[in-house]
Structures are given as C-alpha cells and as structure tokens.
Subunit: 134 residues, 4 copies
C-alpha cells in the first residue's frame, strides 16, 4: 500500500538520488510524522501530562518537520541538492531530539517506546541520505 514506492518510478525524468534509499527515507518521514502526532496526543491524555510537556512539544515539531521533509523529498522536478541537504539535516536533528526525549518515557508509555523507535529509524535513514548527497 506504500505510495512512495508506487508513484516515484512513474516520474517522467531522471531521479537524482538512489531510488531505494529515497523511497525508504520518504516512508520513514511519513511514518515518523504519524507516530509523533499520535504520541503527542496520547501524552496529552496521560494522567501525568505535566511530566510530558517536553515530549509533546518535540513530537509536534518532529511531525511538522518530517511532513515537510517527506514533501520536499517526494518532489523530483528541478532537484536542488542544497535544499535537500538542509531539509534532511533539520529532519535528522529533530528526529534525534525527539527520539532522545521519547526514549526517556519508553519504559512507562508504549506510545513513547514506539515513537522513539520510529524516530531512530528516520534519523538513521536521513543520515544515510545525507552521506549520499555529500
């Protein structure tokens, strides 16, 4: 059902980056955004919400940045390495910060454990893509 994998090969021109890595990065960004939106909302309904303020905040940031990154990476028209690099660097950083924070609550809250794991995966694939862009 993953559309990044389906639509990307139909692009009517050359694709600048490694297609498999690109698809993986887009999909992790989308999945991470979804995990973060869900985690922020689950935090908000926890009894101990006042201990989860930082977690909510960084999850909201991470969802916003991951969604913007997925969109930028999906677009292949007139590829600009400077834009892609800067956006993926931002995504890598916010996934790191969000993963660090969610990890602190992972033993307590299953949504934080899932979200932390997803942030790590997205952070990792962003780093692989950055290595490729140079």
């Amino acid at each position: 059902m993953t559309r990044a994998a389906d639509v990307l090969p139909t692009f009517p021109a050359a694709i600048s980056l490694d297609k498999d890595l690109l698809v993986r990065c887009i999909e992790e960004c989308i999945t991470c955004a979804q995990a973060c939106t869900g985690c922020a909302d689950a935090d908000l309904s926890e009894k101990m919400v006042d201990e989860l303020r930082k977690c909510i905040r960084v999850c909201l940031d991470c969802a916003d940045v991951c969604e913007a990154t997925a969109r930028v990476l999906t677009r292949q028209t007139s590829y600009d390495a400077n834009v892609t690099r800067a956006v993926v660097q931002a995504c890598n950083q916010v996934c790191k910060s969000c993963g660090d924070e969610c990890e602190r609550h992972a033993a307590m809250h299953e949504h934080c454990r899932i979200c932390a794991e997803e942030c790590r995966r997205c952070e990792q694939v962003c780093r692989e893509l950055l290595a490729l862009i140079g």
Copy 2:
C-alpha cells in the same frame, strides 16, 4: 510498518470511533496525500504540463486536506464529532474532485492512474466513517 495501527491502541483512554475503520481512514489519508504530492510533481515534469494545470492544482489541495484530516483523526483527546464530521466531509469532497480529474489523465499518465485509484479509496473510507459519525 504502519504506525497508525501501532500507536492508536496505546491511547490511554477510550477511542470514540470504530478502531479498525479509523486506522484505515488515517492510513488512506496519509497514502492519498503522498500519492497527490507525487502526482502533482510528476505532472510538473511532463512535457504537456500546460494540459495538467488543473490536475496539479487539485492534487496540491488534496494533499493539504488529506494531511490535515489524518492529523485530526489521529488525535483522540477530547473527541468532537462536529469537528471530525466537517473535516472528513471536506476530505471526502476533495478526494472526489481529485479522483475525477486524475482519472481523465489515467490512460496517459501512470502517476495519474495510481493517484486516481488512491483518491477513490480515500473518498470511500471517508464515506464509511461519515456513516458511522452520523
């Protein structure tokens, strides 16, 4: 790898709507947004871009509305049926309009065929969810 299915059951309170349908609707919204962002960009790189203006425009709208809808549906804290209904109605309509337009180019462009199909799926599950909300 689908996060909607993973995070939703960790929500620390009751979930107002049928969980399976909700997960399906969130996932179709995310998938449809992704297909639309990719289709708009592929259109933009087609030789005959001037015949695809309407397609690009409605794909951009559909991506924006589907992403907002996925976020609203993912949130379970203090469920508000009026908000959910109005947002899913908007999503249903923009998926219908986008599916109609992409279908017109489906024989010519594979990205339009995939996008039209995805819009139909998202339109359909939005309708099922609306029947439930009443």
Copy 3:
C-alpha cells in the same frame, strides 16, 4: 506586509470570488492558525495543563485546518466551488469549536482570550464566504 493582498491581484487570470472577501478570509485563516499554534503551546506551559487538554487538542486541529484552508483559498487555478465550499465549511466548524473552548479559559489565560477572539473572526469571515459560494 500582508502578502495575500499583494500577491492575489497578480494572478494572471480571472479570480472567481470577491477579491476583498477572499483576501480577508485567507488572512484570518493564517492569523487564526498562528494564534492557535501559540495558544496550544502556551497552554502546554501553564501550571494547570491538565485542565487545558481539550484546549490544546482543538487548537492543534484548528491550526492544521486553517493552514490547509488558507492554501486552498490562495490557489486560483481551476477554481472548484465544491472543494472550496467543503473546506471552508470545515474551517468554519473547527473555528467555532476552538472559539467555544478557548472562550471558557479567556478570563484566566490571555492567550486563550486572544485565540478565542481570532477564532470568532475567522469563523465569521468563513461564513460570509460560504454565503457567497452558495
């Protein structure tokens, strides 16, 4: 400094709706989204955050829907009244729900008072635009 007012008249074709009302509606959507993002974050830093859960949730929804609405309204290429109507109806509803909730905290929190006021303005101009679309 308002760009909606500056860019809209440069559109290279006819604009389907009343230009002044359209500009006002775009600007209120943008302003309301900004107020809601700020209010949700200010709520999150209040001592009594556990009484503001619903306020945070609906502010996040309202920011997402208002931003999507501003984008749809800004686009003039191949205007589709059905899409515009459905999206503005959703925006009108979420602004109503968010205004109602923020109003409940307006005496206590200045950010809620400002946000409620802004939601009312955006709800109102959405209604005016809907009357025009028919």
Copy 4:
C-alpha cells in the same frame, strides 16, 4: 492584526530568544509561505508555465519549510537550541534558493518579484536569528 506579536508575550514562562527578533522571524516565515503558495499558483496559470516548472517546485518547498519553521519558532515550551538552529538553517537555505529562482522571473512576473523580495527578507531574518543562537 499580527498574532505572533500578540500571543508570544502571553507565554507563561521565560522566552529563550530575543522576543522582537523571534516575532519578526515568525512573521516573515508566515508571510513568505503565503507569498510562495500564491506565486506557485500564479506560475501555474501563466501561459509560459513550462518555463516556470523550477519556480513552482521551489515555491512549494519554500511554503512547506517556512510553515514548519513558523510553527517550531512559535513553540516556546522546552526550547531546544539544536532543533531551532537546524530548522532555521533549512529555512534560510530554501528561502535563498527560492529567492534566486523567483528573481530570474521578477522582471516578467510581478508575483515572482514580490515572492523574491519576501524570500530575501525571510532569508535575512533567519540569518540574524542564527547569529543569535550560535
């Protein structure tokens, strides 16, 4: 009518960055996003749309990144300098790329002229904020 200026001082804790600069940066991000969404759509309706493909693409990216940046900057709960820096760096870069592209069409298209100007302003204030974050 600018809400960033109104809501920010109501934040119930200390604000980490210079408040005036922060407000200016949020407002330029929002204004730039709006200019870019409008410019991409106006491009799409120009007769010579096939010469404006790159302009549309980078305007779409710039709108997405500026909106995400405005949201991250608006949030003051649990400020994280690493996240803010990376996101503002990305915004600075995409505004530079978008400003460069729109400038090439500024003599021909008034929407490109306005958008280029706005990108320059947003790029500049991002740079000022980056100098402050260190």
